[in-house]
Amino acid sequence: MTVRQIAEILDAEILCCEELADSVNIHSACGSDMMSDVLAYVKDQGMLLTGLVNPQVVRTAEMMDMCCVAFVRGKRPDAAIIQLAQSKNIILLTTQERMYPACGKLYKAGLDAGKPI
């Protein structure tokens, strides 16, 4: 599924790297507000959904080789966070959806949870 399709499903606004939205394909995703858990439990998920907003969200995504972060519950990162993501080619989305429905909609559309580690 492309990030563009994901953005449509979540009715999300693309905050940066929109030029990549049609070419970057995501196969699995994870949702968490704890970056500790993302670093410890995630493997090969291309996308993170989170309600946490700080620069470490972008750095965590980078270390995990993720290409997209969606902020749920209408959370909006500041300009510095957007710039950080831009410099790493990580696409940022923001959606009004809460965590559970956001994950549910994507799961239903075929985005799975990846292999457990």
Partner: protein, 140 residues
């Protein structure tokens, strides 16, 4: 084993926002010299966990990375409060993090076990009131 590249960073203990700079730079360097994606990921995750620990549990410190023909050694040294019981700290889920740290998305007690998982060897030396030195080795 002769050293090919040495990288040195100061990690500012007061600056949560910038924390991760050292790991980001190491990642860039490893990419630029053609290290495999698999190794880059292991080094990035383990070093980033260590860098975060230096900021949230200590007062910052220094990170040194030595890249050799057959391996990468990451050394994280701080002069923070130290770890009283290293075996306990190594257990999954053990954390002394405050609610304030949890609100920043850290403090699940998973960092040290994760650093052990992703490195090929890990050594911790710590003295209460003096500081902590974590050494991570990765084979190439």
């Amino acid at each position: 084993m002769s050293e090919l590249i040495h990288l040195h960073y100061d990690v500012d203990g007061e600056d949560f926002v910038s924390c991760g700079h050292a790991s980001e730079d190491v990642r860039r360097t490893l990419k630029s010299i053609g290290i495999s994606g698999e190794v880059i990921r292991k080094v990035s995750i383990a070093m980033y966990e260590g860098e975060i620990n230096m900021v949230i549990h200590a007062d910052g410190g220094v990170a040194d990375v030595s890249i050799c023909e057959d391996g990468i050694v990451v050394t994280l040294s701080d002069t923070g409060k130290g770890i009283a019981d290293i075996d306990q700290a190594m257990q999954e889920g053990f954390s002394t993090a405050t609610d304030e740290i949890r609100e920043l998305g850290f403090g699940a007690g998973m960092g040290l076990p994760n650093m052990k998982k992703y490195s090929d060897s890990m050594d911790i030396k710590s003295e209460v009131g003096k500081g902590t030195v974590v050494t991570l080795k990765f084979n190439l």
